[in-house]
């Protein structure tokens, strides 16, 4: 692998934070604070207190505008930034529909506060309301319909009244060069999704942006993703492209949309037709058509909307039948048909990805994450291509061209020739070091075999660089929490004990490397929560540092599964016997605890974020830190509590999981640490193949997703 060197920091690949101008993860620890503060950036964008201006959202009652009014409104209200919600007088109340969700999240008082901070204004599209000036608009988020001339006229109107106004369009397709303003394209569902594709005035995704907007969004807890200034950016090439591929399959096979969705979900995780209906068929079909229509003009037949989409764009018809016409006739594939389906879906998607890479539309980790975070892909598109391998990916595209020869234009096979580079190989895990201390960052919220393989490569790389001290953490960007194992990886284990053994064994061995391969290792939890497999992984570090409010838990029992990464004995080996009942309760109840309540049991230090960053850095650099290292007892543990100490669950599956976890704890703790890995793996694998697991949540997911 090649090593890039940035500011005396060596890294496997560029950090995604760098694309936002926020430096590297190592710098965050070295500086002992986060690289941007929301307060400073709010001051920069909206003016300081006393001169605070407003955020204007135009088209505020539309699907995007209303969702973003809620999301940005809730984040800017504490800073006293009013939201000016602009729409036509006759627009239906899109924002009001969000109130119940807002109240659920922030409580009635919080929701009322947020809504009170939203000032609704009507305008006729030709001139701005008089009152607007008095509220000092500083930032316009334009969310009006995807009509180029209308958008341009809208900007002109605002620019003439407010020449200094920052403007961003939520457009899903038009590039900045067409619109004349920057892009902040959000992903659905707009009130929840934190992802924004952003095109700034200096539209190179790999150069830090001078504009404060992406950094403001980051500081407000969202996930801005810089993309280059090309039609439909990344997300809508993938999302609209996936929809088009599915529509073309429908045309070729007559298979109903609902069934194509099921096979699509089995293949990639997404269900494009359901997504369109859920977003709102009329608007979503128009947007998809609009993106494809413009992409077709730029790139040719690969993106050409078919007749079906043309019709739906005009009619707003939903893809799924109405309730009284729920499907009666099932469809299923033979092996040949499934292969044909794969070619017709993956072929165009792979080719579209080659275009994205050819045009350097974004950092590869971004391209990959966008599929997962915004388009429901089980694995990002680059991980899918990487998993298929260069030869197979090429063959799929070539086979697709036999079916659709007109699509051959804009196929860039050379983009896949880089598949062996760190940019391709480290989509989820990066490593950096400064010659003394290393940082491993994980940008995926759930642990899967891709992360496992990449983590091993990162550990190997650091070892090759003679780094003996390491912090492992989320990436401060794409991953805002650590939710545990990706249970989709368990599907094969539900019918094959060997698969369960392999997963549990492999992942546990990776986790042990954090303990065995480094002189000092520090697990760092900087997000809202760390659960299950990720907590097991980080507990293997010599030290675990967490922000105090983070939720920590082992929810496996609720699925149910038996923790497979040594969660049933490793924490006991690091903890004094008087704290074992607490550990037992954590494992058997599945209820999380706050990090600050788990010091000495799960974590070694908990505090505010800056203190945590500083403490972790002190530990890893060998400075004075006053955090005691808890040693792992190698010998068998004695006198473990024999009583579950919990009331019986009414849920039979939970009860079965509890019993199995309890047995696993007893068996693995009664062995030496060396023996326990395999014992735990056997218990975990055995339970995964049991009826209790197969009929539990993972079994249900498997059935829903894979048994089409």
């Amino acid at each position: 692998m090649t090593i890039s060197t940035i500011s005396a920091i060596s890294a496997m690949r560029q950090s995604t934070l760098q694309t936002l101008g926020l430096g590297t993860a190592l710098e965050i620890f070295r500086n002992g604070r986060l690289p941007a503060s929301a307060r400073d950036l709010v001051d920069e964008v909206f003016g300081k207190v006393g001169d605070r201006g407003a955020l204007v959202i135009s088209g505020a009652n539309g699907i995007v505008g209303a969702g973003k009014a809620m999301q940005l409104g809730s984040r800017l209200e504490p800073f006293g930034v009013p939201i000016l919600a602009l729409d036509f007088p006759g627009a239906s109340d899109g924002m009001g529909r969000h109130y119940p969700g807002l109240a659920k999240t922030f409580g009635r008082e919080g929701a009322a506060r947020i809504m009170e901070n939203i000032i609704r204004m009507s305008y006729n599209g030709l001139c701005l309301p008089q009152q607007l000036k008095g509220l000092k608009p500083r930032f316009l988020l334009e969310a009006i319909p995807e009509i180029l001339d209308a958008k341009k006229a809208h900007y002109k109107l605002f620019r003439s009244a407010f020449p200094e106004l920052e403007i961003r369009s939520v457009t899903s397709g038009f590039p900045s060069s067409e619109l004349g303003v920057g892009i902040a394209h959000p992903a659905f569902p707009h009130e929840i999704s934190k992802i924004w594709e952003m095109v700034e005035s200096n539209p190179s995704s790999l150069i830090p942006h001078p504009s404060p907007i992406p950094r403001l969004f980051w500081a407000l807890g969202m996930i801005p993703v810089p993309v280059s200034d090309n039609w439909s950016f990344v997300l809508d090439v993938l999302f609209c492209g996936a929809t088009l591929a599915a529509l073309r399959y429908h045309q070729a096979s007559n298979m109903p949309y609902w069934k194509i969705d099921k096979y699509f979900r089995k293949l990639l995780g997404a269900n494009p037709f359901r997504a369109h209906d859920a977003i709102g068929a009329k608007g979503a079909n128009f947007l998809t058509w609009s993106c494809l229509h413009h992409l077709k003009r730029q790139y040719g037949a690969l993106f050409e909307p078919n007749a079906d989409l043309n019709e739906r764009k005009d009619t707003g018809q939903e893809y799924y039948p109405l309730n009284h016409f729920r499907p009666l006739v099932n469809w299923s594939f033979g092996r040949d048909e499934e292969e044909d389906f794969k070619i017709r879906i993956l072929g165009p998607l792979f080719q579209m990805t080659s275009l994205i890479l050819h045009e350097k539309r974004s950092h590869l980790a971004h391209v990959n994450a966008i599929g997962e975070l915004c388009a429901q892909f089980r694995r990002g598109i680059l991980a899918v291509i990487r998993g298929a391998g260069y030869e197979a990916a090429m063959k799929i595209v070539k086979d697709y061209h036999k079916l659709h020869p007109q699509a051959k234009k804009c196929w860039y096979p050379e983009a896949f020739e880089q598949i062996g580079t760190p940019e391709w190989q480290q989509l989820y895990v990066n490593a950096e070091h400064n010659g003394r201390a290393g940082i491993i960052t994980v940008s995926r919220e759930s642990y899967n075999s891709d992360v496992d393989a990449e983590l091993n490569r990162a550990i190997d790389w650091l070892a090759g660089e003679n780094i003996e001290r390491v912090i492992i953490t989320g990436d401060f960007h794409l991953s805002t929490q650590m939710v545990g194992a990706d249970t989709a990886d368990f599907y094969p284990a539900l019918s094959d004990v060997k698969e369960g053994l392999r997963i549990s064994g492999d992942w546990s061995r990776t986790a042990r490397r954090l303990h065995d391969d480094f002189k000092v290792s520090v697990g760092f939890i900087g997000g809202k929560r760390c659960f299950g497999g990720f907590l097991e992984l980080l507990m293997h570090c010599h030290y675990l540092v967490s922000v105090e409010e983070a939720g920590l838990g082992m929810p496996e029992v609720t699925l149910p599964v038996v923790p497979g990464m040594e969660g049933c004995h490793w924490p006991f080996r690091k903890t004094a016997p008087e704290k074992w009942p607490g550990l037992l309760r954590l494992l058997l109840s599945g209820s999380p605890v706050r990090a600050k309540e788990a010091v000495g049991r799960l974590v070694d230090y908990a505090g505010p974020i800056d203190k945590c960053l500083q403490t972790a850095w002190k530990i890893v650099t060998g400075a004075d830190h006053n955090v005691a290292r808890r040693k792992v007892k190698e010998a068998a543990l004695k006198k473990l509590p024999k009583d579950l100490a919990l009331p019986d669950s009414e849920n039979n599956a939970v009860e079965a999981g509890r019993k199995a976890i309890f047995e696993c704890i007893q068996a693995s703790c009664a062995a030496t640490s060396s023996e326990a890995l395999l014992i735990q793996a056997k218990h975990s694998a055995g339970f995964m193949a049991s009826p209790a697991c197969r009929t539990g949540r993972i079994g249900a997911e498997l059935k829903k997703t894979m048994e089409v």
């Binding site: 007559n254 298979m255 109903p256 016409f325 499907p327 009666l328 006739v329 099932n330 299923s332």
Partner: protein
């Protein structure tokens, strides 16, 4: 002998674009529990998919059924929507002649030049047939209720007799013997099972998994449930309901669908799975016989058809009949001096049941497939229909 005049010279049936469900006996399968119109439309879409015909090829949809079904008011356009292709269409109903009449209408539509590809979708569900309530001010009861299938079978308003009575009448008129009718029925069953064993049925019949409201598989329609292999001894032992009519020599009600396409000759070549096979409409006719003699009506229609075309029965290579009573075939054989052993070589409605609307469509598909297997020739299709009607058609497979 060359035909002087072809009825629809432009219209063709594209070979192999057809399909039928199995016809499970009434109340015996998940079809008893579904909106049969919706099922049929979704099934046709799947048939077209299996036959590699994009449904976007359809210009028009002619549907045919005889038993009311939920949302029947919306008829063909609604079924086209269920099929996934929003084309116009119309609905046709003429008792058991429906299947063939719908095909003829489709051919006329193509012939007229207004459409290039017309779908024919026929179906019926005899199970749980709906009951109609009719205000009848002059009736003694003021309001009449009628169970659509059962009550119509049991009462021909034109004669005041049950439909089964016409079979006995015909048997007596033609002096048929029970022994021959039993043997004929046995032979028909043997023909069906022989065709099944040879894999013939799989060429025309498509199995369907039927889903419940939660999307779970409720059952699979993959056999003609109700068809049962009789023995001669068993047939002879059955109680005679009317002359030569027993439970073994008459059909049973069933549920199902059958569909095909009619297209211009250019389009037919494009859509056909074997473009070298050319299927043309030669002639079609209908006849009506005396009251309560329905089983002889098809023979009368065939005679008329042969007279019009100038063909003789010996010129026909495949003869298929809708025979709710074995008597039908025996009468036909007597009238046309034809050996009934040579008819219905791959099965018939006497064996696999009678869902009315799609019965003649399935018979037609089977006849065309059989003819294609034989290298072509004339296919004669006939059947009786309520009202003492007979319908017959000639197609040429070249």
């Amino acid at each position: 002998m060359p035909i002087q005049k072809i009825m629809f010279p432009r219209a063709r049936i594209p070979y192999g674009t057809w399909g039928s469900s199995y016809f499970p006996a009434w109340q015996a399968s998940p079809l008893a529990e579904v909106n049969i119109g919706q099922f049929a439309a979704e099934a046709m879409n799947k048939v077209l998919g299996i036959r590699k015909v994009p449904k976007t090829e359809l210009d028009y949809l002619i549907t045919g059924s005889t038993i009311p079904w939920h949302w029947k008011f919306w008829n063909s356009p609604m079924l086209a929507s269920c099929l996934g292709r929003r084309v116009p269409g119309c609905h046709l109903e003429q008792a058991c002649a429906t299947g063939l009449k719908a095909v003829t209408l489709a051919a006329a539509e193509v012939e007229s030049g207004s459409k290039d590809v017309v779908g024919v979708l026929t179906f019926d569900r005899t199970s749980d047939s709906p009951a109609g309530v009719f205000p009848e001010r002059r009736a003694y009861r003021r309001t009449e209720a009628l169970s659509d299938v059962w009550d119509n079978f049991g009462f021909d308003p034109a004669t005041g007799k049950a439909m089964i009575a016409c079979a006995g009448n015909a048997a007596r008129k033609y002096k048929l013997e029970r022994k021959e009718v039993d043997e004929l029925s046995l032979h028909r069953h043997e023909q069906y099972y022989k065709a099944q064993a040879a894999g013939f049925l799989k060429k025309v019949l498509v199995p369907f998994e039927v889903l419940d409201v939660q999307g779970r598989v409720m059952g699979v329609i993959d056999s003609d449930i109700g068809a049962a292999r009789p023995t001669l001894r068993g047939l002879r032992a059955l109680r005679e309901i009317d002359t030569c009519v027993t439970g073994g020599t008459q059909t049973h009600p069933s549920d199902g669908m059958a569909c095909l396409l009619v297209a211009t000759s250019e389009k037919a070549r494009e859509l056909s799975r074997r473009p070298e096979i050319d299927i043309q409409f030669v002639a079609e006719t209908e006849a009506r016989t005396h009251p309560s003699l329905m089983p002889e009506a098809p023979a009368i229609a065939v005679k008329e058809l042969l007279r019009r075309t100038g063909l003789a029965i010996k010129d026909i290579s495949v003869v298929k009949s809708h025979n709710p009573f074995a008597i039908n075939d025996a009468v036909f054989a007597k009238e046309l001096k034809y050996d009934w052993h040579k008819m219905n070589r791959t099965g018939c409605s006497l064996v696999w049941g009678h869902p009315q609307g799609p019965t003649l469509t399935r018979l037609l598909i089977e006849g065309l497939e059989e003819s294609a297997d034989m290298g072509g020739g004339y296919v004669l299709l006939m059947g009786c229909a309520a009202g003492d009607v007979g319908i017959a058609a000639l197609l040429r497979v070249g």
